[in-house]
Amino acid sequence: MASEEAHVHHWEWSYYPLILVAGIFFAVPLGFAAFFVYGSGLMSALFIGLGVPLIIWGCAGWAGEGIANAENETGWALTGLPIFIVSEVLIFLSLFVSYWMLRLTAPEWPPPGSPEIGLGIPIFMTILLVSSSFTYHIGEERLEEGDKAGFIKWLYITIGLGALFLLMTGVEYTHLLGEGFGFSANAKSTAFYSITGFHASHVLVGLGIFLFVLFPALSGKISHVFVTGAGIYWHFVDIVWFFVISQIYIW
């Protein structure tokens, strides 16, 4: 931190944190409760329709302020992000512990009525996700060499692989739901959909982060801290997948 920066003479402020919180508030608690608790699809759609644009506005404005300030970056975020990931690890761990507790105390496993879950799709998904970590890494190397166009090209490929991963999750879910293996079928479906769904939601968040790297990059603005941070998060999501496939599919 440059020492002349250290002394600030005015009160600092930003619109975007409050906008983002307001968006989350409308879209998630109110949107969910309107539909699931009070059975009003219209109210739910209104809340989500109000909340999601606020979330996008908040994130975009926030990222814009961050990019505009990119030359003063401290790099502290690259310490903060791994600290944050510790809490993500604990979320996944408590889901896995719940799964182990249900599975190890069950009289028989899989519980009667569970369909066979094939390994073909998950192995294909593994290949997709692992290669996406490598393609992002290649992009980062291009960026270090100063090749912004190359970075953007590899970023497109990474996003494509991630999106294909989510598509495959959708294909698999459709297939299993078609066999009557719904959320409430038994303890196995409970654990299966919760853990794979929670992981898929992280892939979705990772893709969202990539979009906030991509759009400024298209107009030539690149924050190195943001690029590295997005990569750390993506590799984390990749690593968690190995636990998902080994515990849910293979075991």
Binding site: S3, A6, H7, V8, H9, H10, W11, E12, W13, S14, Y15, Y16, P17, L18, L20, V21, A22, I24, F25, V28, P29, F32, A33, F36, V37, Y38, W62, E65, T74, W76, A77, T79, G80, I83, F84, V86, S87, E88, L90, I91, L93, S94, L95, V97, S98, M101, L102, T105, A106, P111, G182, F183, S184, N186, A187, K188, S189, T190, Y193, S194
Partner: protein, 527 residues
């Protein structure tokens, strides 16, 4: 206005936390009064319907713990004081800090919606299944309140860990930090690691109730005790999230008003604080002694629960030792701080029988438990927050509060809380079960319940006077002298009153001899 609502300055965010948490405290306090009035006589007193009583219990517990104590300590005091104590111009991520405070405010809004929506949440603050899954009440709002507050705390933890790692004034070593900074770091490590587990637990509750999964449904391969384990894995350490910063504030106040360095600094920090953090994660199952568990696990948890007396004992030794041979003056912050020694003693000692499995079989789910945790967690931490508000009042506002009325408020609070909770230990041992709306079968406890209700109203009067002294002081108070308490800590010695943008007119630097407790006696380093 714009510079307040959209502020990213840690001091203003701290004050936003204070206002929000005091608002939550006031509403949750009114719930407590309604509960006490309901219990003051046998049979239905205020309402005919126990589900209304459940809503009060829900709001009182959830708001006091999640929306007053935790944000008051790790939100308000940490935000306001930590950057000033370490000589930083702000926190590491100011916009994330603003994001945290607004998550907290919207969580309070969500909790307050309890009073206007049909079918409000009625699941206490614990949300145990199967009731929380089967009730008509809106369990979703309970879950999302926990989510918003949890997300806020996790981001706060990331922010303050980075702040203390990177933004200490040049020359400031780890053993020169204020004890309050250490206690808050300990609390934030617990928040970071444990809150995700609570968030998972309530999320699974949401899935079970609204999406039809079967985590907690034994009819379809689920397990009710799974929830209790996940819940208490966070919610027992949450006690230390509250206790540690409370002890930190009390130590700051004791050191300043006794003109002494914090006693046994290194042992307090590395043994007391970090010992509590480490052991705190290994005791959760003592909340499940009577819910059903194997005997060997019960004994193991009894041992770890008793072991945690050791680091907490170190903290207590430090509290008392800091007073030893001090030149003490009893201003309002100091009377609050010293009174907590009594409250910690009573609350701590009544915890030991509860750790014993044999005694818990009798005492579980009685008023004894309720009185115990109100002393150690509720009252001690509330008094610590009040000590902190009075202590930093001249710094925050540049003005002084009225000493006489503040002292009157203190004595009403102190007498009131003891009148409210002390008798409850007795009827708890005699078998008065907690959470009962109507206690027809125990008519012998009616007079004690009435006494407790009288105490609660004395507290209400004291709290009203206390909050009025703050409002009056902030608007009409006399101008405060610089450093009115004569503290050596950086927030008093290097700042303007009140501190402006960027905190320090010139960025502070410290030498190896500098200590926040350098009162001309042995310093923290020499111990």
């Amino acid at each position: 206005m714009k510079e307040w609502i959209f502020t990213t300055d840690h001091k203003r965010i701290g004050i936003l936390y204070l206002v929000g948490s005091i608002a939550a405290f006031a509403v949750a306090g009114i719930m407590a009064l309604l509960i006490r009035v309901e219990l003051s006589s046998l049979g239905p007193t205020l309402v005919e319907d126990a589900s209304q009583y459940n809503v009060w219990l829900y709001f009182h517990g959830a708001a006091m713990i999640l929306a007053f104590l935790i944000p008051g300590l790790t939100g308000f005091v940490a935000n306001y004081c930590i950057p000033l104590m370490i000589g930083a111009h702000d926190v590491a991520f100011p916009r994330i800090n603003a994001f945290s405070v607004w998550l907290f405010w919207f969580a309070i809004v969500l909790a307050l919606l309890t009073f206007v929506i049909p079918d409000p949440p009625d699941v206490l603050w614990t949300g145990y299944p199967p009731y929380s899954v089967q009730t008509d009440g809106n369990t979703a709002f309970y879950v999302f309140t926990v989510h918003l507050l949890g997300f806020s705390s996790i981001l706060g933890a990331v922010n303050f860990l980075c702040t203390v790692i990177y933004m200490r004034a040049p020359g400031m070593g780890w053993n020169q930090l204020n004890v309050f900074v250490w206690t808050t770091l300990g609390a934030f490590v617990i928040q970071l690691v444990m809150i995700p587990v609570l968030a998972s637990a309530v999320t699974l509750l949401l899935f079970d109730k609204y999406l039809g999964t079967t985590f907690f449904n034994p009819e379809n391969g689920g397990d009710v005790l799974l929830y209790q384990n996940l819940f208490w894995f966070y919610s027992h350490p949450a006690v230390y999230v509250i206790l540690l910063p409370a002890v930190g504030i009390i130590l700051e106040v004791l050191a300043t008003f006794a003109r002494n360095p914090v006693f046994n600094y290194k042992v307090t920090v590395y043994g007391g604080i970090w010992g509590t953090v480490l052991l705190g994660s290994d005791v959760w199952a003592h909340h499940l002694y009577t819910s059903g568990m194997v005997d060997w696990l019960r004994i193991g948890m009894m041992v770890t629960t008793l072991l945690i007396s050791l680091p907490v004992g170190l903290l207590t030794i430090s509290l008392v030792g800091t007073l030893y041979k001090g030149s003490i003056s009893f201003k309002t912050p100091m009377v609050y701080a010293t009174s907590t020694l009594f409250l910690i003693l009573l609350g701590g000692l009544t915890g030991i029988p509860l750790a014993m499995t044999s005694l818990t079989v009798h005492l579980a789910e009685t008023y004894f438990v309720m009185a115990h945790f109100h002393y150690i967690m509720g009252i001690t931490a509330t008094f610590a927050v009040f000590a902190g508000v009075y202590y930093w009042f001249p710094l925050m506002t540049g003005k002084m509060y009225n000493e006489t009325y503040s002292q009157i408020g203190f004595w009403l609070n102190f007498i009131g809380v003891n009148l409210t909770f002390w008798p409850l230990f007795g009827i708890g041992i005699d078998g008065m079960p907690r959470r009962y709306f109507d206690y027809q079968m125990y008519p012998e406890f009616e007079s004690t319940q009435m006494l407790s209700t009288v105490g609660a109203f004395i507290v209400a009067a004291g709290m009203a006077i206390t909050i009025l002294t703050w409002i009056h002081g902030a608007i009409l108070g006399e101008k405060a002298k610089p450093n009115p308490w004569g503290s050596k800590s950086m927030e008093w010695t290097h700042c303007e009153y009140p501190p402006g943008p960027g905190n320090f007119p010139t960025p502070p630097e410290v030498t190896a001899e500098w200590s926040p407790y350098n009162y001309g006696k042995h310093t923290a380093q020499s111990l």
